[in-house]
């Protein structure tokens, strides 16, 4: 077993690091303060080829594989966790369309998402359900050559930015089905973005569909196939969220190490105190373990393995350990960590979300147990 990164992986990692340092780091605090990620950042990511990395070249991607994508995402999430959700959304939506869509759907929607011209979103959650497809109330009704969609979607990330949304709705009352809806058309109305605790600027909205008419050929996959489409995307989403957790924890740890060297007490850096050293060591172990578990899950995906169970395991593990590592890093900072000027404060506010979205930790435990007991 060789754990060294290949030349290719190192170069991808380095390029993403360069991009993140040049384009994201300088505006990281501004993004958090203004709760807004500049839209043109997506175009810049598209120009470099970061948006659709693991998607096929034929449709504007790079055929990079998932491990390369994960290595890039880790660098991109490091300066501020909300800026690179463009990458996650492009891959989740793009892959869903490539895996289940028609040739026309792939050609029409995926290449402009890879350039950043269109921003994809994933509209599953509703006010009364987060992870249970049977409880969806949004419905799609046939009307000649059209589908008519009615309902409300909650936490629709990037739901207000033009591009394709994969919308899940019930056909004939019980058949969970996915559709491609072009956002911001007639009958598509968004709430103001949620005022979130952290990860600010992700543009998370509620969307009301009022008689939204879409052509019949916007059906994604087959009627009743929605749950399979959801599961395939969820595994990718969990992988992305796991590496986001690692990046956030690493950023917090780096801040803590820097602070422990700078801050002195009775003339010596606090890093010389055992109480501080233990916090740093415990945080570092959590980051490193989560990192390699995420890399392994991505490598399994590249090898063609099904990662339904593994993606739930790494998501449960990495999001919890990252939260703990960030908490320890903040503890190293003492009261200063509670001040907005300190980067660790921003990370602390954001890291909890990872345990809640893309299926909460409780949902991941149910999935893992289901695999074990099956």
């Amino acid at each position: 077993m060789d754990f060294r990164l290949t030349v290719e992986e190192k170069l991808i990692q380095k390029r993403a690091h360069e991009f993140a340092s040049a384009e994201i780091e300088p505006i990281a605090a501004q993004i958090d303060r203004e709760k807004h990620v500049p839209r043109q950042l997506a175009n810049k990511m598209g120009d470099v080829g970061l948006l659709g990395m693991p998607l096929p070249r034929k449709y504007g991607g790079e055929d990079s594989g998932f491990l390369n994508w994960i290595l890039a995402l880790e660098q991109m999430h490091y300066p501020v966790s909300s800026a690179s959700s463009f990458m996650n959304m492009t891959v989740m939506v793009g892959r869903g369309i490539i895996q289940f869509g028609t040739e026309e759907q792939k050609a029409q929607f995926v290449p402009p998402m890879c350039t950043g011209e269109l921003i994809g979103s994933w509209a599953f959650t509703e006010p009364s359900t987060g992870s249970d497809p049977k409880s969806l109330t949004t419905r799609a009704d046939r009307d000649g050559n059209y589908w008519v969609i009615n309902g409300v979607k909650r936490f629709n990330t990037k739901g207000n930015l033009d591009g394709p949304a994969v919308v899940f709705a019930q056909v004939d009352g019980t058949k969970t089905t996915a559709f491609i809806v072009e956002k911001n058309g007639l009958g598509y109305a968004n709430s103001k973005p949620y005022d979130l605790m952290g990860n600010l600027g992700t543009e998370t909205v509620d969307t009301r569909f009022t008689n939204v008419r879409i052509p019949g050929d916007r059906l994604l996959g087959e009627i009743g196939q929605g749950f399979n489409i959801l599961l395939a995307a969820a595994a990718i989403g969990r992988l992305g969220l796991s590496i986001k957790s690692v990046a956030m924890a690493q950023a917090a740890l780096d801040e803590a190490v820097k602070y422990a060297k700078q801050r002195t007490r009775r003339g010596v850096p606090i890093g010389s105190m055992q109480a501080i050293q233990w916090l740093l060591a415990e945080a570092a172990v959590r980051v490193e373990g989560s990192r390699w578990m995420t890399y392994r899950t991505a490598a399994l995906k590249d090898q063609g393995s099904d990662i339904m169970k593994e993606s739930s395991m790494v998501k449960l593990f990495a999001t919890r350990l990252a939260k703990e590592a960030v908490d320890m890093s903040m503890q190293v900072h003492g009261s200063y960590g509670f001040i907005r000027d300190f980067k660790v404060e921003r990370i602390y506010r954001g890291v909890k979300e990872n345990e809640l979205i893309e299926g909460s930790s409780e949902v991941q435990r149910s999935i893992i147990a289901g695999h074990l007991l099956n």
């Binding site: 030349v7 991808i12 390029r15 360069e18 080829g49």
Partner: protein, 263 residues
């Protein structure tokens, strides 16, 4: 036009550990990159190729991991890459490096122009370019901030501390470039993947080159590093000005004038 660019992989981290026994930099495990000045040389070669046609070959001498820098050069757009790597090259100084590079360039055959960065960020000597020109008996222009080629004549603006001078040379020639000459392009993810998956890096060892074994590696080196150590940061001095506002302003002005910052 056939252009050869000589590049070097250098540590990119802020801190490079030093082996306390040998005094040498411990490069293994350190993040590394193409030497910054060399990226300007690659860019200039690519610009000249787009203007005059031809090909660009990147050459580096270094440990096997220097392949990473060559792949990056391929991703930037160079056509071919050559890695000169052999345990016997270890311990080389600039004299040995230029000797080995010259042997590889002779093996590559006819060329019109060799471009180098003006100096590396680790060795900082700025010697390899000029020594290579001497080895190959070529006209050389250092610190070029602009290059123009017409027929077989190369004209360059050479940076000076207080301006520049214009120098002409007949091709083939060697030019070392200054940073102000261009802005190096950054490869896309797709170009990096192509460079790693399809790009060809030719690897040559000492046995592939016509060289005198006694003139390479540690034994061939004319200079010895006796000690390397991290520079101690200069301690900054602070001075508190006291008294009335007028006095403080007067003292401040005097101090600034004394340092030729105002006045």
């Amino acid at each position: 036009m056939k252009i050869i660019v000589c590049i070097k992989q250098v540590p990119s981290g802020a801190r490079v550990p030093i082996d306390p026994r040998t005094g040498a930099l411990v490069r293994e495990g350190c993040p590394s990159d193409i030497n910054r000045d060399d990226k300007h040389a690659i860019e200039e070669a690519l610009l000249l190729r787009s203007k005059h046609g031809g090909s660009v070959t990147a050459v580096t001498m270094g440990p096997p991991q220097a392949e990473e820098s060559l792949r990056e050069a391929l991703a930037m757009g160079v056509d071919e890459a050559v890695l000169l790597s052999d345990r016997d090259f270890a311990g080389a100084d600039t004299f040995v490096t230029s000797y080995v590079l010259a042997a590889a360039i002779k093996k590559l055959g006819r060329f019109d122009l060799i471009l180098c960065g003006k100096q590396t960020s680790d060795g900082d000597t700025a010697q390899v370019g000029p020594q290579l020109a001497e080895e190959l008996d070529l006209p050389q222009i250092t610190y070029a901030r602009r290059i123009q080629i017409k027929d077989k004549t190369l004209q360059a603006q050479r940076s000076l501390s207080d301006g520049y001078e214009v120098i002409e040379a007949q091709l083939p020639a060697l030019v070392t470039v200054a940073r102000e000459i261009n802005t190096p392009r950054k490869p896309t993810i797709g170009a990096l993947l192509d460079a790693c998956r399809k790009g060809r890096v030719t690897a040559w060892t000492a046995g592939d080159l016509e060289i005198d074994r006694g003139k390479i590696g540690f034994n061939g080196a004319l200079s010895r590093m006796t000690r390397a150590f991290p520079a101690k940061p200069k301690k900054r001095e602070g001075k508190m000005l006291t008294g009335s506002v007028q006095d403080v302003v007067q003292d401040l002005l005097k101090a600034l004038e004394g340092k030729h910052l105002v006045g």
